[in-house]
Symmetry: C2
Subunit: 442 residues, 2 copies
C-alpha cells in the first residue's frame, strides 16, 4: 500500500490485491444476500452534473483529449468524485427500467484532486449501497442500511467497529423547539465539537450563528447524549424539556432504529447525538462508522437519509444510503494483514525435462478441471530449484509427474497421488487473508 | 447496453450487470486456476509514460484539476488507454517484490478518446493476462497463453470461437529469405489484406515498400496459408522454397504451438499466416481471436510475444500476453442474453403488517445466514401486491411469516417450511445468465 510512485494513487502487490479482493468479495456477497442489485456507472460525468454538488467541485479532475482537433465537438467531462451523484443521474435516466424501491450496490473507484494524506487518496474505492424510492420511501430502510453495513463489517472480520447514528429531525426539531432559526448553521457548528471543543462551539453559536447562550448550552447538552439503549436515549432527550413535532417524530425513528439494532446485532449501533455529517441534504437518520482500535483513521463508512436524491419533472427520488471507504479501510488493515500466498496456485507440477512438458501440462489441466489451481514449473531445472520456486511463491504442493508423487513442501511429506482424484486440504485450496489487527482486537 | 447518455460510455441495467459479472467471475476464476496473480494498476499514468507508445497517444484523455490554483504543482496525467503500458511501468517499479517469471491477470476499465462505433467504446473493460520474465522468458509461455484464452472463452460459453495464431519470426524470416528489406512495411501491408485485397497489397508492396513483384507474390502466398494441422502448415510453408534461420526457428515454434493446442483443445487454435497485428513490438507468436458467428465484431482477444515489455538499467523484461475485450464481447452477447432476474434475492419475506416487520426481518436473516439471498417486502400491502412485487423482480419464492409457508410464485406451489432448514433448488439460488447466442451456435 505504501507503494505509490504517484502521490495519492496507491498500488498493491499481488498478495495485497488478494486481501483487497477478499474484502470486495465479502462486500458484494453481503450486499447481494440482502437484495441489493449490482450496478456500475461510467467513471465520467459531465461537469454540469458534477457541479450540482457544489461544495466538492474543486476536487474534480476534468478530462480533455490530448490531441483534440480545433473543430472537434468537445464534451466537458470530469471523473466522478463519489458514487452518489452518478447514481442520481442514472436513476433519473433509467427510471422506466427499474423497480422501486430500487436497492443497488456499487463498488467502484472514485477520484478527488485533494492533497493526499494518511487514509486520504486521490484514487480510491468506495462501496455504496442505497435504497431509492419513487416519490416515497418507507422509514424502515433507514433501519436496514446501518444493519447491512454492520453485517458487512462483521463479515470482513476487521475487529471491533461502531456504527454511530443520529437523526436530523431530532436535531432540527430540538433547535426549532428552542427557537433557534439558523438550523443548518447550528448543525455545522455542533459538527466541529470534537475539533474545537464545547467552549468554542458555544462561542461560535452565540457570536456567529446568533443563538442565545441558553440556546447554545441546550444544543450542547443534546450533543452530549450517546448510548445504545433506545428507551434511555429517548428519556435523556425528553428530560431536556424541549418539545417540537419534528423532535417527536425524529425521536420515534431513532428509538425504532436502536431497538431493532439492539435485537439484531447488540452493541454494533450506538446513538451519538453530536454526529451531524457535513452534507446538507440529509433529512433523517445519519450514520458514521469507526473502527474502535483505529479511531484516528476517521469514518470508514457513513451515510444517511435524503428526501431528494434527484428530481425529474414531477417525480422525486428519496433515498437512504451508506458508503464504505474500502481503500481507507484496506490501507490500515494491510499494516498487519497476512495473505498465505500471492498466487492462487495450490500445486506446481514439476517438469523433468522440456520434452516431457506436455505430460506436466496434462496433469495440471486435470487438477484445474476439478477446481484446483495448478501451474507448471517455468523450466526443467533441477527439482530442488523447482521446489524453491514454489516455496518463494508460497505454493504448498509440488507434483512430480514421473511416478505421480505429490509433496507438501512445508512438511516434506510425499505421497503417491492420482491427478483425477487427489485434493488438497480445503484450507490450502485458495489464498487466505487474515487481518490480524481484527483478530487481536476481538 | 444501448443505454448511453454519453456517446461511447455504455451503462448497464442490473440484470445486464449480472451478465457482465458472470463473465468477469469466469475470467478471474480461469486465470487464477492457471496461476495468474491478481493485479490492478492506478487508472492514471503520467503523460510521459503514456506517450512511450506513440501511435495511440492521440486517443489519450488528459486530466486537470478543475479548480487548480496558479501556484499548484501540476502533474501531467492521463487515463490509461490499455493495461500493457501501466503493467510495464509497474513491473519496473516493483521488480524487487515480484517472482519471475511473473504471471498476472488484470481486469480493468481503460479509456480512449476515439470516435465511438459498433463494438468500439471510449470507456471499456479489458481482461489481460501476461507472463513476464526478467531478461529471459521460455517459449512455452507462448503456447500457454492462447490456450488459457481458449479455456476462458470456452468457460464463458459464448459460442464457437477461433484463436488465430501466427509467428512474427515466420514472416520476418520468410521476407528476409526472399531478400525483402523493409520487413515492418511488408508486415503492415500484408495486415491490410482483408481490407484492400491481394491485388492492392501486391501493388503497395511493389510501389511503396519497394519489393519486386516476385517477392510480393511470394509474401502473398505465405499469407494465404492457414490450418490447424501442425505438420501440414510446416510443409506448406517449406514448399514455398524460402530458407532463413529465423524462418526455421519460427516454424518450429508455430509447429509446437499448434501440436500442443491440437492435443489439448482440438479445433480451437488455427494458424492463419496473414495475421500480422499492427503493433511493432511483437517478436514471436501473435494471436487474434474471433467469434465464429460474429466475425463482423472483429477481434475479441489478441496479443503476442514481445522481447522487451520494458527495460530498466541493465535489465529487460520480455513477455507474452493476451487481452480480451470484455465490453466488446458483452455488447454483442447481450443482444440475446437471458438473465433470470436483476437481483440476487431468492426469497421475498412478506410482511403482514408493519408492526410485525421485525418477525420478517428475523426470518430473512436466518435464510441469509445459510447463504440464501433474502429480502423483506417494502410495505405491508395486501399479499397479492407483495407477490406482484416479487414477480416484477423475478424473485422465485415468497415466504409468509404467519404460519411459515413458502410459495413458489411460478408454479403456485405452497408448502410449510422452516427458515432454519428450507433451501431452494440449486438453480434458483443465484441469478443465471444464458448467452443464447452461444447455445444456438453450438
Amino acid at each position: 500500500m505504501v507503494r505509490s510512485s504517484l502521490s495519492g494513487f496507491p498500488e498493491l502487490l499481488p498478495a495485497e490485491r488478494f486481501a483487497e479482493l477478499s474484502i470486495l468479495d465479502t462486500l458484494r456477497h453481503t450486499f447481494e444476500l440482502h437484495g441489493f442489485s449490482p450496478l456500475e456507472t461510467r467513471a465520467v460525468e459531465t461537469l454540469d452534473t458534477l457541479a450540482k454538488k457544489g461544495e466538492t467541485s474543486k476536487e474534480v479532475y476534468s478530462l480533455s483529449r490530448v490531441n483534440a482537433q480545433a473543430g472537434d465537438k468537445v464534451d466537458s467531462l470530469g471523473l466522478h468524485f463519489d458514487l452518489t451523484v452518478p447514481f442520481a443521474r442514472y436513476v433519473v435516466e433509467n427510471s422506466g427500467h427499474l423497480v422501486f424501491p430500487f436497492k443497488r450496490y456499487q463498488i467502484q473507484k472514485v477520484w478527488r484532486g485533494e492533497r493526499p494524506q494518511e487514509g486520504r487518496f486521490r484514487e480510491f474505492t468506495q462501496a455504496d449501497i442505497d435504497v431509492v424510492g419513487q416519490d416515497t420511501l418507507p422509514f424502515h430502510y433507514e433501519v436496514e442500511l446501518p444493519l447491512v453495513m454492520a453485517e458487512a463489517l462483521a463479515q470482513l472480520n476487521v475487529g471491533q467497529f461502531l456504527v454511530q447514528v443520529n437523526n436530523r429531525k431530532v436535531c432540527e426539531g430540538f433547535y426549532r423547539g428552542l427557537g433557534i432559526e439558523d438550523v443548518a448553521g447550528t448543525l455545522r457548528t455542533i459538527d466541529k465539537l470534537d475539533k474545537i471543543g464545547a467552549e468554542n462551539v458555544a462561542r461560535v453559536l452565540v457570536e456567529e450563528i446568533g443563538t442565545t447562550s441558553e440556546q447554545a448550552e441546550a444544543a450542547l447538552r443534546l450533543a452530549e447524549i450517546a448510548g445504545d439503549d433506545a428507551a434511555a436515549i429517548v428519556d435523556q432527550v425528553r428530560s431536556l424539556g424541549v418539545t417540537h413535532h419534528l423532535l417527536t417524530e425524529g425521536l420515534g425513528e431513532l428509538h425504532d432504529l436502536l431497538a431493532e439494532a439492539q435485537s439484531r446485532r447488540p452493541g454494533a449501533v450506538r446513538a451519538v447525538l453530536k454526529i451531524a455529517r457535513g452534507l446538507d441534504y440529509y433529512t433523517g437518520s445519519v450514520y458514521e462508522t469507526l473502527l474502535v482500535d483505529h479511531e484516528d483513521l476517521g469514518s470508514v463508512g457513513g451515510g444517511g437519509r435524503y428526501d431528494s436524491l434527484a428530481t425529474s419533472g414531477k417525480k422525486t427520488y428519496p433515498g437512504v444510503g451508506v458508503s464504505i471507504g474500502v481503500t481507507r479501510l484496506l490501507s490500515r488493515l494491510l499494516r498487519d494483514a497476512e495473505v498465505s500466498r500471492p498466487v492462487a496456485t495450490t500445486v506446481l507440477v514439476a517438469v523433468a525435462n522440456e520434452e516431457d512438458r506436455h505430460r506436466s501440462n496434462v496433469i495440471a489441466q486435470a487438477l484445474r478441471e476439478r477446481g484446483i489451481p495448478a501451474d507448471v514449473a517455468p523450466s526443467a531445472a533441477k527439482f530442488g530449484k523447482q521446489i524453491r520456486y514454489a516455496d518463494r511463491l508460497g505454493i504448498p504442493f509440488v507434483w512430480f509427474p514421473g511416478d505421480n508423487q505429490v509433496k507438501d513442501i512445508r512438511s516434506g511429506e510425499q505421497l503417491a497421488a492420482d491427478p483425477i482424484t487427489w485434493a488438497p486440504p480445503a484450507d490450502d485450496l485458495y489464498p487466505r487473508t487474515t487481518f490480524t489487527q481484527g483478530v487481536q482486537s476481538s
